[in-house]
Amino acid sequence: MKLLEIKEFIDAKVLCGEEHLKREVAYACACDLMSEVLRLADKDMVLITGLTNIHVLKTAEMANIRTLIFVWGKLPDDTLVQEAKELDMVVLSTELPMYECCGILYKKGLGEPLEP
C-alpha cells in the first residue's frame, strides 16, 4: 500500500516526508511499548502510536522503520520531526483514535508484521 493512500484513508497531516509518499509499505504495528515494537519490527513496517517522545524515533531508527503515524491528533515536538526528516522518514498525524486508525488500515489491506 502506498503511503499516499494511507494518508488519505486516515485523513492524516504530513509532518515530514511529503516527497516520500510514493513509498510502499506492507505491514503495520500499533503499539505504545517500544520493546514490543522492536520485537515485531519489519523493515517496511508502519508504526502507529500514541506516544510522541523522542524514543519513538530512536526505536524506529534502530528497527529500520521509516513511517510513523501519531494517533489521537497527537503531535511530536519539532526535534523529533527534524530528526525524522534527516533520516528520510515519513511522519503522519491523524485525529483518529488508535483503534479506528488500525481498523481502517486493516480493512484496506495493510497487513500485520511477520515474526522476525
Binding site: M34, E36, L51, H55, K58, E61, M62, N64
Partner: protein
C-alpha cells in the same frame, strides 16, 4: 582477528534525552562500513535495549562495541544494583519498571529476551549490589 573499530561510552542513569544515542552511533558505524543490513538491525535493537536498560534500571554504566572482521561484540557494564534473579528477569513480560518509565514506552519486560533473541551469543552476569554485565556476540560470517 583484526579489530576494525572500538568504541566505549558512558550511559547515565535516567538521562532519557540522550539514552539510545550510543546505539545510534553503533548502528550508523556498522552501516557505514557495509555490514549486512540484517545483522546491523539485530545489533542495533540489542544494543538499544541494553542501553535503555542501563538508563532505566541501573545507577549508570558503560556500553562498548568492538567490530572485528568476523564479529561484533557489544558489552555493557553497570554500577548496580544488580539483578537478584536472572531467570525471572529473562521472562518475557516481567519488569520492575515504574509507571513513569512505562509512560515513556518502556518496561514491557521484553528487553533482555529481545537482546538474547537478536544476538548469536548472549552472556549475562549479575551481582547484587555491584551490578550487571552483558556480553553479546554477533557473527559477521
Amino acid at each position: 582477528m583484526t579489530n576494525i573499530y572500538e568504541m566505549e561510552y558512558n550511559v547515565n542513569n535516567r538521562d532519557f534525552v540522550v539514552a539510545g544515542d550510543v546505539s545510534r552511533i553503533i548502528k550508523r558505524t556498522l552501516q557505514r562500513i557495509g555490514v549486512d543490513p540484517k545483522i546491523v538491525r539485530r545489533v542495533a535493537i540489542a544494543s538499544y535495549e541494553a542501553e535503555m536498560n542501563i538508563a532505566i534500571h541501573s545507577n549508570g554504566g558503560r556500553i562498548s562495541a568492538k567490530i572485528d572482521t568476523d564479529k561484533v561484540l557489544v558489552c555493557t557494564q553497570d554500577f548496580g544494583p544488580g539483578i537478584p534473579d536472572i531467570d525471572l528477569a529473562m521472562t518475557e513480560g516481567w519488569s520492575t519498571a515504574t509507571a513513569e518509565i512505562r509512560e515513556m514506552g518502556f518496561g514491557a519486560g521484553m528487553g533482555l529476551p529481545n537482546m538474547k533473541k537478536c544476538s548469536d551469543v548472549f552472556e549475562i552476569d549479575s551481582q547484587v549490589p555491584q551490578g550487571t554485565t552483558i556480553k553479546m556476540t554477533f557473527w559477521l560470517t
